[in-house]
Amino acid sequence: MDARGLRCPAPVIALARAAREVAPGTVLIVWWTDPAARHDIPAWARMRGHEVLMTEPLAPEEGDGGDDDGRAHATAYVTRVRTTSGDAAG
């Protein structure tokens, strides 16, 4: 999912919505630019029993290279989260 440009708490809300709709154990991949997401995605995962697998800068070729005017996004990152295989209802 692409949460670039969304500001807190929107990236986490979008991620939580996605996590609810997939099978337990699914790996979600989220792109984000919000500085708070760096801390809030792991904190959300801990509160909900999900597992953050890794976070790294988003390689430019992975993204679309910018917005409609061709300007680059603010530094973007990618995080992979494995949804809990336990009771995800929380």
């Binding site: 809300i13 609810r20 708070a36 792991p42 904190a43």
Partner: protein, 361 residues
Amino acid sequence: MHPVAREAFLAALEQGWADPRRLHAEGRRAGLLLDGAREALAEMLGARTEEIHLTAGHTASLHAAVAALARARRRVGGRVVVSAVERAAVLAAATLAADEVVTVPVDRAGRLDLQAWQDVIGPDVALAALQHANGEVGTLQPVAAAFEATERAGVPLLVDAGASVGHVGVGPHWDVLAADPSDWGGIAGVGVLAVRSRVRTTPTGPEDEDPWAPGGVSVPAAVAAAAALRAVLADRARSEARRALVDRIREQVAQSVRDVAVVGDPVDRLPHVVTFSCLYVDGEALLGELDRQGFAVGSGSACTSSSLQPSHVLAAMGVLTHGNVRIALPSTVTPDDVEAFCAVLPQAVAEVRRMAGATDL
């Protein structure tokens, strides 16, 4: 603002309006008031009068202390050790003064990693800075043990007690202590910096009669600071009564709000600060909702800061930064005020979640 501060300020305005450096009668009178304020502050902070320096404010105190300590130990080394949860003014001053800033992490409660601190404190460190308590989450720091390490290595320790003085005792474990009158009910415009006589400092600014406060300080604000501190220390019972109210808020919030993290140490903490983060909540919207209901609270969430960066304290602790609420109970707070807050909070949070479409998550 403490009523005693207001009274003392107005009286000092009457008596001490002149420049205390002047030799005429009015100037000398102002000078005597200023000396009296320094003497009283010294006694209450456990320092000698000549060790008390007044500044333009707490931020100015921290900037000047870091710069002057670092410069005095320039030959020793350019490393400055700080905890990850120091006030922004300390971190900014360290970045400016140091060749290298060494940041010591904290645990989930916001408490310094003492082992990591001991590992990096060595004779080549110019200075170390550790707050007495964190003003955002209330956690007390292991200052005595941290001081033992710096003292052994001969490194001066700056203790930012801005959130503590007037609320808890700060003890003798410091080389330089910064205290903030506006935090104990004083009037803005003055800061207090205690520098042990044994500590070498080299001010970095241009030559001035008072290098800690070039041009001098506000005499009425200094007098008000001392008077207000005396008043709050005399009423410790009232200050301590807030501890039970903070416990009540911590317990009620955890019980009545779904998906909430109450942060900061539950026991070793300031008596008046309580902080929590609500999942899926926009901090700015929650502040607005509470403000409408008559509650003025703070927040460390990114959306409430001008930089749009979340609180570096919450980030260093690894706790949720969004939906954050920080409450500092004034000494005048009543149990009824606290009950009223606890009664409106769950609906306020629910309303903000509903607006964000996050009710069912």
